[in-house]
Amino acid sequence: MTPSATHRAIDAVWRIESARLIAGLTRIVRDVAVAEDLAQDALVAALEQWPESGIPDKPGAWLMATAKRRGIDALRRRVTLERKGELIGRELEILQQLDRPDLAAGVDDVQDDVLRLIFMTCHPVLSGEARVALTLRLLGGLSTPEIARAFLVSEGTVAQRIVRAKRTLAEARVPFEVPGHDELAGRLSAVLEVIYLVFNEGYVATAGEHWIRPAVCADALRLGRILAALMPREAEAQGLLALMELQASRLRVRVGPGGEPVLLADQDRARWDHLLVQRGLAGLRRAEKLSGALGPYSLQAAIAACHARAGSVKETDWPRIVALYDGLAALTGSPVVELNRAVAVTMAFGPEAGLELVDSLADEPALRGYHLLPSVRGDVLLRLGRPAEARNEFERAADLCDNERERELLLSRAVACGA
């Protein structure tokens, strides 16, 4: 193997092993920051040795053994260097933890460790941004520059978020465990939120030049698939995965040849990714079997499934979509859901009913400055044969929109309304 081929292979091994490695080390030393440093040391050792020795037969076991040995060596060296032979208490503790045979490291346990790590990096003690950065770093295996690119922020900002997040977890003594029954629902919803936030950043980029970024969606899908496989009895974990698979099935036709957004009504449905559609529908069936009343992600998946099953906008079961939005609005009380419901009502029962709903949201504080409010209103007005007012709304929406591609689309819709 050439050196660059070996490096690509090491990257691949790292992507496969890093989450399990960091999770296993966290179980041993009870500190994610220390665990990640040890894992990084092992990666450095692999980069030094594998180009010569070749990739070992069991790279995961090699990385774990090397991480522990290097940790022990470094701590012992400090004992000799500092002569007094004294390590501060915490370091001594880590040395003992690393030096002990790891009896708990069965295969099933490794998967449990990954689940514990997910609940740790998505812990409510962290800010939303910190949860996202730390989860992508420790479970997604993404580098700091990759995370920075995904969220269009500087590398320094991401690095700082990660350092602070690890410190916060240590200071708050967040335990390395899957939450117990009482806490589980709330904590799981925090995990789901992080994954869906990542997905949406790829699906509708809030800012920047590109409207979608499929690589970011792929990272979220992978995390969603891991979580759904690790928690097969949790309906909402299945529901979120189903939702993401169904939405991702449209990714390839969501942008036109010039990178411009293509809305659902104009998409070539034959070119949806039908493997993902099937996986999404199967995931939704699993979620439905597991739960009595559908949770918010499963409801959104059920709405996406109505679109996935329909051959065209006209053939879509809009009354059912309205009913599902009713359920979602009751659960979330979210004005954004109400706005989506207004779109469905327009399609199911006509634009008069839709306009009434949109106008009832006009003073909603949460929707102030949200470009989709005037955009939806413009669409409804156009259906009512009031193009001059519609044009105003589309222009207003374009002013409020931060994504360049979407702004262009809104301006072209304004122009299409005529004078």
Partner: protein, 138 residues
């Protein structure tokens, strides 16, 4: 990117023999690992070719040839569909599969419009899409 992994048939699979409990156990464990790592999208085993058929195309003529087929090296006994970040990742996963005895497992990348990269200009892409549309109408 998506990959298809093609598992070749063997005299045993062609005879309809089921793998040993031990081999099934190893494969189940491997599949579980693929699923829990978010890699596996689909995967199935295929019945022996004695239950399959071939259709030969020649002008307007269609000839049906019933199985079994003998050229064992070309037989497929199962497949996986994987989602991986790179060809290298797919290879690393495949290296972990519980096979033995000199068997060779084939890994193939599945086509995606993105594979054409910048060579597929917006104009070409559009032309391609028009072709597809026309093909769909035929």
């Amino acid at each position: 990117m998506r990959f298809m992994v093609l598992v070749p048939g063997s005299p045993e699979s062609e005879a309809g023999e089921m793998p040993s409990t031990e081999a099934l156990g190893a494969m189940t464990k491997y599949n579980e690992e693929l699923v829990k790592s978010g890699v596996m999208l689909a995967g199935e085993g295929l019945h022996p070719t004695s239950r399959g058929a071939k259709v030969r195309f020649n002008g307007g003529e269609r000839t049906v040839i019933d199985g079994p087929f003998t050229e064992a090296k070309e037989l497929v006994a199962g497949y996986w569909l994987w989602e991986c970040a790179s060809r290298e990742e797919a290879i690393e996963w495949l290296k972990r599969a519980p096979f033995d005895g000199g068997v060779e497992i084939e890994l193939r990348q599945i086509f995606d419009a993105d594979d054409f990269g910048e060579q597929l200009t917006p104009e070409l892409r559009e032309a391609n899409e028009r072709l597809r549309e026309r093909a769909a109408q035929n």
